[in-house]
Symmetry: C2
Subunit: 115 residues, 2 copies
């Protein structure tokens, strides 16, 4: 049975946007709703391939979104609702973040047979 | 003040190993000790640049380790203690994992000025 927390990607190459962030301790208004909206929106983007995300109890999180091209990443960056939400992130929700855009060159995975 | 959960990387290019994993609900013996040992070991590898990691309450986690070359990634993959610990991961700790190796082409970050 496939664990749907893992992205199912086609064979490389593809492109990854690695977004790491630290939430602020305060000012959580609207964050969960915005995160859910962005998750749905990114999945609807042309060229979207998959996304994986984890955030720990200290508010540090990593989200990796995969796309089939750099053009798809640029279009997602320039999407109006995404850009406005990023601005709210700086204004309200995050203490800091980092973005790295990378070309995936090889990949492999493993799932327990008896899981 | 720099948040040390974020890797401080030199300007691109560099290489990223994106490791996502799901812990099993049981069989946690030795996991925390092994994770701490691997964290110390990877930081000591030639060509290591930085690492970021988060695991959520459902046992899904993402670790991204950055290196200055593909040779450094291969040497880390082939390190004896790392290889043995990966095997323990398959035998005991993980329900599944995925590895993607990617070349970082651009990067930017932001930290709150008043944090």
């Amino acid at each position: 049975m496939h664990d749907d927390r893992f992205a199912r990607l086609p064979a490389p190459p593809c492109y990854a946007v690695i977004f790491s962030s630290r939430r602020r301790g305060d000012a959580s208004d609207g964050y969960a709703e915005a995160a859910a909206r962005m998750d749905a929106l990114v999945r609807a983007q042309p060229g979207f391939l998959g996304v994986e995300s984890a955030r720990d109890g200290e508010g540090f999180g990593i989200t990796v979104a995969y796309f089939d091209s750099e053009d798809a990443i640029r279009a997602w960056r320039d999407h109006g609702d995404h850009a406005a939400t990023r601005q709210r992130g700086r204004d309200e929700w995050y203490a800091g973040f980092a973005v790295r855009v990378a070309k995936v060159e090889r990949a492999y995975g493993w799932e327990r047979a008896d899981a």
